[in-house]
């Protein structure tokens, strides 16, 4: 496994003087699902935004051994343009890149279809449920077929049923496309279910306090009541407690 992204000694302080991150070094491997797990306010979102290049770190560096690839980013809220139809929301990254209308619409429709939203191309965000809006946001992040997907607590605002379903769909998409995923969450269960590896952050300032490497396990509804999942859950919970 080769690293796609290397974070070296990342530190960050906000203008108010709050030290958000201190000396975080971490490698993201090609094709893995890496969860950043920590309590609210531990700087995990900040770390993700630094990795995306949305925020310049005060200390340390973000390195891309194979060059910086296109990145898909998913926020905690769906963050859709309320004036645009689902299709146009999904097609936005392609539009910015200058792709002609017909081509970008075809790819946006395919992306919506991959997330089970075929038939909702012409719907406006206000006409969709919270889970459907999040699917649109994921379709938008995937429409450029990026090798790296950064997700900032994307399912935190959704109900449990929708959350588990989207977790499964995310894993299926990753299986089909080989996308590398960095997934920020404050849920031990979510990290235990999704991740190949979990980076646990301690709060204020955020430091890397543990790096868990999980053995592969089966997925699906029943897997969440079986021993491998329970072992992962306990490991993540213990690491979070010790952080």
């Amino acid at each position: 496994m080769t690293p796609l992204l290397r974070l070296r000694g990342i530190g960050h302080r906000f203008p108010g003087g709050v030290q958000a991150l201190a000396g975080v070094s971490l490698e993201v491997m090609r094709g893995e699902v890496l969860c950043l797990l920590g309590a609210s306010g531990c700087g995990k979102s900040t770390l993700l935004r630094i990795a995306a290049g949305l925020l310049e770190p005060a200390q340390g560096a973000v390195e891309w051994p194979g060059g910086r690839p296109p990145i898909g980013f998913v926020f905690q809220d769906a963050t859709l343009m309320p004036w645009a139809r689902a299709l146009d929301n999904v097609a936005l990254p392609l539009r910015i890149a200058g792709m002609p209308r017909a081509g970008r619409h075809a790819r946006a429709a395919a992306a919506l279809g991959a997330l089970g939203l075929a038939g909702f191309e012409r719907a406006f965000p206000a006409q969709l449920s919270g889970g459907m809006r999040m699917r649109v946001a994921i379709a938008r992040a995937l429409v450029t077929d990026p090798p790296l997907l950064l997700m900032d607590e994307p399912f935190a605002a959704l109900d449990e049923i929708t959350r588990w379903r989207l977790n499964d769909e995310l894993l299926a998409l990753r299986q089909a496309r080989g996308t590398t995923i960095v997934f920020v969450t404050h849920s031990t269960a979510e990290s235990a279910y999704l991740a190949d590896r979990v980076a646990v952050l301690s709060p204020r300032p955020g430091r890397l306090s543990a790096l868990l490497d999980f053995a592969p396990m089966a997925r699906g509804r029943h897997a969440r009541s079986e021993a491998p999942f329970a072992a992962r859950l306990r490991a993540a919970g213990d690491a979070l407690e010790a952080a």
């Binding site: 935004r49 995306a52 290049g53 949305l54 990145i71 980013f73 926020f75 809220d77 963050t79 859709l80 343009m81 309320p82 004036w83 645009a84 936005l92 990254p93 539009r95 910015i96 890149a97 406006f124 965000p125 206000a126 006409q127 450029t144």
Partner: protein
Amino acid sequence: MTQRLLPALLLAALLALWEALVRWNGVPPYVLPGPVAIWRALVADWPLLWASLLVTLRVALLALLLAVLGGVALALALLLAQSPVLERALLPLAVVLQVTPIVAIAPLLLIWLDSVLAALLACAWIVAFFPILSNTVQGLNGADPHLHELFRLHGARRWQTLLWLRLPAALPFFLAGLRVAGGLALIGAVVAEFVAGAGGAGSGLAFRILEAGYQLRIPRMFAALALISAAGIAIFAALGLVQRLALRRWGGRAVVAGCRRRAHLRGHDRC
């Protein structure tokens, strides 16, 4: 249904009470005419009042149009200049213009400007301009910060962000400002007509009110007043309809969510 019916019923009851009090107490119409007398004056003087209404409406709507052009153009210029210094220097001046009573400025404008029409337009423009400018400035900077990050992440150019993010996001703010400005433009036009008085060769509704006052035709005065109110209500309702039609797909929640996030970033609990 009752929400629309109740105000109408209340209005009808008040009008009936008014008419009854005027009749029982034998109040002469040159002191206080009853609704029936006012209605009769409205019907009898309709050609005159209608022509005057058109004069006043023309001034108000033309001023509103100029306020939209000026307000949006200045808001865009401020945005493109990307100069916080300019913005901080200019917006307080606009506030000064806004809070100075238009009644106090109107005589000056009538002295400075040769054409009465130009003076009337300037008065109405001054009061209508500010809500459009401030709302458009706010709206152009009012898009969800996460959407701005998304545009940045995908390497959007400035014109792309302006065209596809800032302008659409400004629409609800602009329309809210337009609705306020519509009512204010009418008030500005009427105030300016009052100040111009008989000195201007005006024939707008305010001039009719003054004229009827001098001639002690009080029912006609009230009829003109009622027409001004009706015009104001019509402008407000028409612009409200524009607002609803333009934003019917947005849904209230998305707008509120963006507003909440901005408030949260500034450390406030509420929008």
